[in-house]
């Protein structure tokens, strides 16, 4: 049982963001944020007391899983998806039926459950803002450039020239355990000194009395399990490349070249293939690098031989054999083999029709495949079945094998690792620090410091500094809101009953903004809920300093008696502690529309709910749809994952006045242009966002 529980080890470099599955329409989940991941579907609601058609039972319904607590969320849609040239008005023909694919014109409302909107919705923390274009930029539309490469383990910055030559892994001493992907530490192993040798005069020269190994502190793996020990504690990557499993050394490419040069200078026989291959043992195992090098030199010799320069074979192979297959000379030779009848080619090359043969010996690169795997099979069968461990768990899992780098010292045919006992340590993948650019105006949006250990940014334009933050909370007034039904599952909204939510907009910029909201009257999807914004247009004060507000308070409290009954919804008027003002509180005299005498505390249409230094709260009212499908409804199929979440698409338009940018060349130009209000210009920004309010209970 335990052998089957093989969980995938963390794969270095794999991101953790999950885009929702488009077929099920579940909610997006972003790591690191407070919103809960998509939870399993709640229990089936085939209530026998229900005289309507029961829903078809899905496998998810059979498991009575408790629902994860729901946190209201706000996702903002990046306008980059509007510039899609392939925008077509294709209705969504999935079982969602009535909903259409979201189109980006102003005529059509935004459907958060459409397949396309999946890729454009982001929480505010993920978005940046381009100051030149005054537009939101999402991670999908920014252009990224790499600032520096570094190893996540040793935090050593690797210059980009090394990336090209040595690859994208750390070449120092950073390794990951092949079993559990944890970091490996270099440990000193003291071998006990041989008592016989202590007195010998050679003792001082005996090295390897202490050596170093790599060991994992989590799963207790160490490199002694593959028989590898190191002489020095640093530059382990280099030492590891030269060691095979079991401690034998292998030659690297450079060393092999040197040896071949020595042999060539001694032997004198130039690269011809007529070595006495009959004497060689056909079963010698070559490692990957050696086999490739042998094959390559063999084929180069064959090429040069086949093209009529056999006499001067030695020089030819040296001069022309190394040209490769792209050079024009070798190309023309190859083509001449095929165009035998053309009169343009060389007569000399025609006289020798040039035969090429295959390799015949390991020295030429031949490796015979041994199909006999009895050794591996007996290793599996002889495995002592210790309780909890079986032969299956001694084999390496797919993830473990995939993380292994191809080892050039292993034979490609027979050296494939199958058992966990032959897995080698994995080098750390290098990570990058990246800077982001706006795709349109090429301005830098975010630029981290190139020093690896600092986490600061040189430039950081995030949307949170420009766009109001929206937080959602359910509004429950003790005397006013009807109590929920008794057996309501936690964190759910009752269907078919009006529920009120307070949306708090917090303004990050230093100007006061006017916000206009719009939503469709009913939410898109199979279960349309009615939405009403009680105050679609309001102002938020600027994000001034806290001290300014406190000073204003002191001035205001001196005249507090006058400000007690004011209830204007616009204009900053500090009164009371914290500068809050609630529109619905005690207003005995004013005729505020439908306000009843006994309900002064309820939210009012057209009035702000609460206001603060840099924030404003308004109330929206929703009447959730019932999730039970009747025969009249068009919807088919069971409730998909997260289809019961009440999501409201909302169009937000923000207007504010900003300082007109000073013309650097002629400082006086802006005023000379005759701008009124001392150089301010009106700016506006509009975007769609999606508010996830809560899950609708599956009652009724």
């Amino acid at each position: 049982m335990f052998g089957n529980n093989r969980l995938p080890a963390f794969h270095p470099g794999l991101t953790q963001s999950r885009i929702r599955d488009t077929t099920t329409g579940s909610r997006l989940w972003f790591p690191g944020l407070r919103s809960a991941p998509p939870s399993e579907s709640s229990p089936s609601d085939s209530d026998p007391a229900n005289d309507q058609l029961p829903l078809p039972i899905t496998p998810e319904d059979l498991y009575d899983t408790p629902m994860a607590p729901f946190n209201p969320y706000t996702y903002i849609r990046c306008p980059c998806s509007e510039l899609n040239p392939y925008a077509k008005r294709t209705p969504d023909v999935t079982a969602q039926g009535l909903s259409r694919a979201a189109q980006d014109d102003d005529d059509h409302t935004f459907d958060p459950r459409a397949a396309r909107s999946n890729y454009s919705l982001y929480p505010l923390e993920y978005l940046s803002f381009c100051e030149d274009c005054h537009q939101i930029r999402c991670p999908r539309c920014v252009a990224e450039e790499i600032v520096c490469y570094y190893c996540p383990n040793c935090l050593f910055e690797v210059p980009s020239s090394n990336i090209r030559s040595e690859g994208n892994r750390c070449t120092r001493s950073c390794f990951q355990c092949p079993i559990c992907i944890g970091p490996l530490a270099v440990n000193h192993v003291e071998t006990p000194p041989d008592p016989n040798q202590l007195l010998s005069p050679d003792h001082a020269a005996s090295s390897h009395s202490g050596s170093y190994i790599l060991s994992c502190s989590y799963c207790n793996w160490s490199s002694t399990e593959i028989g590898i020990k190191f002489d020095k504690p640093n530059s382990i990557h280099m030492q590891l490349a030269k060691l095979r499993n079991g401690g034998e050394t292998r030659l690297t490419a450079k060393e092999r070249k040197e040896r071949r040069k020595e042999q060539a200078s001694q032997g004198g026989g130039g690269g011809s293939s007529s070595t006495a291959h009959g004497e060689e043992d056909l079963d010698t195992l070559l490692d990957m690098e050696t086999q490739f090098a042998n094959l390559k030199s063999f084929y180069q010799n064959q090429l040069s031989d086949a093209n009529g320069t056999g006499k001067a074979g030695g020089d030819a192979s040296a001069a022309l054999g190394n040209l490769g297959f792209d050079a024009p000379a070798s190309l023309s030779r190859i083509m001449s083999l095929y165009t035998g009848s053309s009169s343009l080619h060389d007569k000399k090359s025609k006289s020798r029709p040039g035969t090429m043969r295959e390799a015949l010996a390991p020295s030429e690169g031949l490796q015979l495949a041994s199909l006999d795997e009895t050794s591996a099979i007996t290793a599996l069968q002889d495995f002592e079945p210790i309780t909890g461990l079986d032969a299956y768990s001694s084999t390496a899992s797919t993830t473990q094998l995939q993380s292994q780098a191809p080892y050039l010292g292993a034979s490609p045919l027979h050296g494939l690792t199958r058992f966990t006992s032959s897995l080698r340590p994995i080098s750390y993948l290098l990570r990058t620090k990246r800077s982001k650019r706006c795709p349109q105006c090429r301005h830098i949006i975010s630029k981290p410091e190139s020093k690896v250990t600092t986490t600061r940014f040189r430039i950081r334009l995030i949307a949170g500094n420009y766009i109001p933050t929206i937080t959602i909370k359910q509004l429950i007034i003790p005397g006013l809101t009807p109590p929920p039904m008794p057996n309501l599952p936690p964190d759910t909204i009752e269907p078919l009953k009006p529920a009120q939510f307070v949306l708090t907009f917090k303004n990050p910029i230093f100007e006061s903004v006017r916000v206009t909201l719009a939503t469709p009257a009913t939410t898109p999807g199979r279960f349309p809920s009615k939405v009403t914004i009680l105050c679609p247009q309001f102002e938020i004060d600027s994000n001034t300093d806290v001290w300014e507000e406190a000073l204003k308070d002191n001035n205001a409290t001196s005249s507090s008696s006058q400000s007690q009954n004011l209830s204007s919804s616009t204009g900053p008027e500090g009164s009371g502690p914290g500068g809050r003002k609630r529109a619905g509180t005690l207003r005995p005299g004013t005729a505020g529309g439908a306000s009843l005498a006994g309900e002064e505390l309820g939210p009012e249409v057209g009035k702000v709910w609460e206001r603060g230094r840099n924030w404003t709260s308004i109330v929206i009212e929703v009447i959730p749809a019932s999730l039970v499908q009747t025969a009249k409804r068009d919807g088919r199929g069971p409730i998909k994952e997260d289809e019961d979440v009440l999501e409201i698409p909302m169009f937000v338009r923000i207007e504010w006045e900003a300082e007109a940018p000073e013309d650097e060349i002629m400082p006086g130009l802006s005023s000379a242009k005759g701008n009124k209000d001392g150089g301010k210009e009106k700016r506006e920004l509009a975007y769609w966002c999606v508010l996830g309010l809560g899950r609708v209970a599956r009652t009724l």
Partner: protein, 219 residues
């Protein structure tokens, strides 16, 4: 009876002239029956350790029981071997998740297995729960942080149970096993048992100087 605040340890007032800071956690109160104990003379029992139960609790040579560790002998005798370390909030002889204290089936000769038996050189880390009921932890094993060892489980020698792992009730873990990840197992082939024992002895030396021992309180 509530425990007194620990007496000031070896004075470190050379650098600071103020008093040693007292713990802000609430005072530990011993509840439950006071168990009969057999302490070795060289063992270290912290003052705020919690020993409860009806059966004997045996702590052998040079073992260390940290403050606020619990040793419950409600289900049977608790035996701690030589040179063991039981860290804070660990519980030997804990009840299972339903709250029952298992008694443990008697062994071949008909004697009752104690609730919990720890071999020599065992380390029980912070917050580990070793359930009662004939549970045996072999010599040199490290029971990781937050691990739960089920009732009646027999863990072999020199095993490593990594943090937050669980051993099912009644399970037998062979020697030199490492339980890691989400229940995965492998065999530890490092051969460092001697080194670990030596390191444990050195750690116990340090702990004996740092933890003020008060075995008389429990006898």
């Amino acid at each position: 009876m509530s425990s007194a605040t620990p007496s000031p340890g070896p004075s470190s007032s050379s650098a600071h002239g103020h008093h040693k800071r007292h713990s802000i956690l609430p005072a530990v109160s011993q509840s439950g029956p006071k168990p009969p104990v057999q302490f070795s003379s060289s063992c270290t029992i912290a003052d705020s350790a919690l020993l409860t139960g009806a059966h004997t609790i045996i702590v052998s040579t040079e073992s260390v029981i940290h403050p606020r560790a619990r040793l419950e002998s409600l289900g049977g005798r608790v035996t701690v071997g030589r040179r063991c370390i039981v860290h804070e909030r660990a519980c030997l002889g804990a009840a299972d998740l339903q709250g029952r204290y298992h008694k443990g089936s008697p062994d071949k000769e008909g004697r009752s297995m104690g609730a919990v038996t720890l071999g020599d050189y065992v380390t029980v880390e912070v917050g580990a729960q070793v359930e009662s009921g004939g549970t045996v932890i072999g010599e040199g094993t490290t029971v990781g942080i937050g691990t739960r060892v089920g009732a009646g489980a027999v863990v072999g020698k020199h095993c490593t149970l990594t943090a937050n792992s669980t051993v099912a009730a009644g399970e037998a873990i062979p020697d030199y096993t490492v339980i890691y990840s989400n229940g995965l197992r492998r065999v530890d082939r490092r051969g460092v048992s001697d080194l670990k024992n030596k390191a444990q002895a050195r750690q116990i030396d340090v702990l004996r100087r740092m933890i003020p021992s008060n075995p008389a309180k429990f006898q």
